[in-house]
């Protein structure tokens, strides 16, 4: 089975409901989703972050991760969207959704994707005050 994977880096706000259709699949009984959001650090003012990516390599690496999630966990539908640019508290930095036949593997695949994204994909966040123009 070749999974359907939608992978995107975007400067626009992420609206997860946009990707609902992509995750529909009559053979999937479990859909695990994750939203990574900018949060207020305790003791800080409202957080402002700048996200940047080495886009061509980031996209290729995310595609590799998707293929691995399909092979290892039987992921049937995958969505990975990462926001770039300036973000404030409460905004979604990353959205991941995985549909699989059963729930255990949906959780495992979703967890795998966000953990490996953080480890292997060339995307960075920096605090806004130290930003320079790109």
């Amino acid at each position: 089975m070749i999974p359907s994977a939608l992978i995107r880096l975007t400067k626009s706000p992420i609206r997860p409901e946009t990707y609902r259709k992509t995750l529909e699949d009559p053979g999937s009984g479990g859909v695990a989703l994750f939203e990574g959001r900018v949060r207020d650090d305790p003791g800080h003012h409202a957080t402002r972050l700048y996200y940047e990516a080495y886009s061509p390599l980031a996209l290729r690496e995310l595609e590799r991760l998707s293929r691995q999630a399909a092979t290892r966990f039987g992921a049937r539908r995958i969505v990975i969207v990462h926001r770039l640019g300036h973000l404030r508290t409460g905004e979604i930095a990353v959205f991941i959704g995985v549909a699989t036949a059963h729930r255990t593997k949906a959780f495992a695949a979703c967890r795998f994707l966000i953990d490996e994204l953080k480890r292997r994909v060339p995307i960075w966040k920096t605090r806004e005050e130290s930003r320079t123009k790109r």
Binding site: E52, Y54, R119, T132
Partner: protein
């Protein structure tokens, strides 16, 4: 003379205050030699040379001193990732 774009991200970008540099090179030079010239012009970049590199859009798995430049176009300095 070919030129190499040097892409800088996150802390490396902040150190230089620019997200991109360009440096000419001679065919046969190693990547390490060319990066040493870049650091000579931008000394604050020095600590960032220990980061991973990508060359022409792929992770570089060998040391920069083992890469002989011929027609490469783009090197990226990749500080530890912090996406998500």
């Amino acid at each position: 003379m070919p030129r190499l774009r040097v892409l800088l991200f996150a802390t490396a970008r902040e150190a230089v205050g620019q997200s991109e540099l360009e440096v000419p090179y001679r065919r046969g030079q190693t990547l390490a030699e060319v990066l040493a010239e870049v650091v000579a012009a931008h000394p604050r970049l020095r600590p960032h040379l220990r980061h991973r590199l990508a060359l022409d859009g792929e992770f570089l798995e060998q040391p920069a001193s083992a890469v002989i430049l011929s027609s490469q176009k783009e090197v990226a300095i990749l500080p530890p990732f912090s996406g998500g």
